[in-house]
């Protein structure tokens, strides 16, 4: 995702719109693809999708804002998600949320000023036997995390960037 004022390359978006425009009810899949590629569903992207799929912009916007997964603001490079499903709750996920928020200096839903970390909670990633669970970018999974490990997890990613 481009944060300066230069022109974003929309050729990928044009391609997925072209591939899907004849499929009924495909909006959500297109939004997923667009967000994965561009990082966020900016107003420009929503307008292009509305035009391309011949759906009113209000409907596209309504759909984007309805679902937790979609965001209009780009997220940090590492999205830390703390599972707050019941099993994780029982094993102390709330303490983890507080600890991460404190160490990163952001609230849940926020992104650090250096654009490195976003902090989110997620309703059950389905790894309940490993509770409490923290995932980073949906790829790295930390199991049975205690507040003692929070510093280490954050430091690990900072090190990668250094």
């Amino acid at each position: 995702m481009c944060s300066c004022n230069c022109k974003t390359d929309y050729s990928y978006l044009d391609k997925i719109i072209e591939e899907n425009k004849s499929r009924e009810g495909i909006l959500i899949n297109v939004l997923h693809a667009a967000q994965t590629h561009y990082g966020a569903l900016t107003p420009d992207i929503q307008k292009k999708i509305a035009d391309g799929l011949s759906i009113p912009l209000s409907v596209v916007y309504g759909t984007v804002t309805f679902y937790h997964f979609f965001t209009m603001i780009p997220k940090g490079k590492y999205v830390i998600k703390i599972c707050t499903g019941t099993a994780c709750y029982v094993r102390g996920a709330n303490r983890l949320v507080e600890s991460f928020a404190e160490k990163l200096g952001v609230e849940v839903g926020g992104t650090t000023p250096d654009g490195l970390f976003s902090l989110e909670t997620v309703r059950c990633v389905g790894a309940c036997s490993l509770a409490p669970v923290v995932t980073v970018n949906d790829i790295d999974i930390f199991k049975r995390v205690t507040t003692k490990e929070v510093d280490g997890i954050i430091a690990g990613y900072r090190k990668k960037e250094a």
Partner: protein, 594 residues
Amino acid sequence: MAGIRLHVLVCAGAGCISSGCVKVKDALVESLNKHNVAGEVKVLETGCMGSCELGPIMVFYPEGVFYKKLKPENVDEIVREHVIKGRVVEKYLYKSPDEKIIQKINEIEFFKRQKKVVLRNCGFIDPVKIEEYLARDGYEALAKAFSMERRSVVEEIKKSGLRGRGGGGFSTGMKWQFTADTPGDVKYIVCNADEGDPGAFMDRSVLEGDPHIVIEGMAIAGYAVGATQGFVYCRAEYPLAIERLNNAIEQAKKYGLLGKNILGSGFDFDVEVRIGAGAFVCGEETALLHSIEGKRGEPRPRPPYPATRGLFNKPTVINNVETWANITYIILKGADEFKKIGTEKNPGTKVFALAGDIVNAGLVEVPMGTTLREIVFDIGGGILDGGKFKAAQTGGPSGGCIPAEHLDIKIDFDSLKTLGTMMGSGGLIVMSEKTCMVDLAKFFMQFCVDESCGKCAPCRIGTKRTYEILDLITTGKGEMKHIDELTELAKNIGEASLCGLGQTAPNPVLSTLRYFKDEYIEHIKEKKCRAKVCKALIRYDITDRCVGCGVCKKACPVDAIEGERKQLHVIDQDKCIKCGMCYEKCPFNAIEVK
């Protein structure tokens, strides 16, 4: 490839992947190559075997020797000993709670007591290879269905007494019948894979471990009711399940098991995956259908039910993953055989996701009517760290809890209702004395506040007001009148809400009030939280076990701890924010919570 003498199954379910099974498998392959025995051993990555707590796991067949909690560096030893010399390596075997070493998977209590219908392939086959599914009678049920009249396929499912495993427990056969009886050229089959209940991962494990069983079940329904298109609506939180489903659909098409004129029957059927976007309400069937249509996932009043007017306003059969996974068994073995499992009104098995403060967290499948005690203690191994069982929570945010006095209840759809909870999709969270029941109710209410779609006022406003009252109680500002207010609110929300989410949202409050009212009263009158969870009602103190090491002082984020080195430290209660950091960090367990 002539001399394959051993099959090694490596569990690659979500739990084991997070425990590092991929590295263990790589180490195995490397070691087999190093010792020149790769040609004699076939290594398979399977779906979830269920014993997530013990991962990463390897099972050596034909004997079924079960190795647990493996690290990559352990594997070479197993290859040298087990594969080359034929000697079982005892130190990696499972030990029962009474310290007995158990060699084989089917002798372990956790597996021995289970009955696998839905999960019969899960953990035995490589889920990315259709050939393995075919080798275990895959798609034979579909072929058998083609030899039956469409009507009799529906009859067979009706006769089996199968009830929807998504939570409601409505007769699956009846649903099919309604759709079959509704005239129309276009009908749809939908699989609800939006497993939104926090604490449930059964459907995920089926989709990741045996995706074809779901697709085949849907194809059979398509044939029976006259539908040619199926959709699987899978939540976006399960990327691996989506990948495996798409892979399975591609393979089935290649083999002519999906697509045009399947197996020369003249019947066409296709399946497409649609992805959710993180909205709990989309597990409600009418909301789910709106979401497949690409719209906001808001529910609508029923009737008309989806069976007569569903997706794109066409008659639609919608069942959840576990229900679909039962279909092939019923068609292959017959309804009578299926009814031998479980109880009279609740035939078959139920898959539970065991989690919480329990020793053997994982996935289990038991006949309906198994007692809670058997599940928690015999299969689940009891409470973690020798704790005491306080309650089990079922049905997620729509359900309630079962206290210790009902441990001997035979679990099925109806018995749970009499206790004021519900089956839900099968999440079973076990709680010890460390869980505060008022805080638990608040946790679920927060969930409902977040997830209420906002369409109807009783749910949107009612859940918020309920949450606020619970917040007062847990922060020490509760009054006795709040208990009556909670009960009244609960009644109104339940009666007036539009969809299942709102109608069941008050259940966790009602259920905890029913069994743990004394805890509510304790919070209100004595300002005490016996589980020591509610921050406003607890305090941290440093006892004389303190040696003055200063670790807590450093850890405290608000500088509330004072004390010289090697002197007893003291917490300034006015400054303390009760984050518990000092408690966690103290190496001498000198800090007490009261």
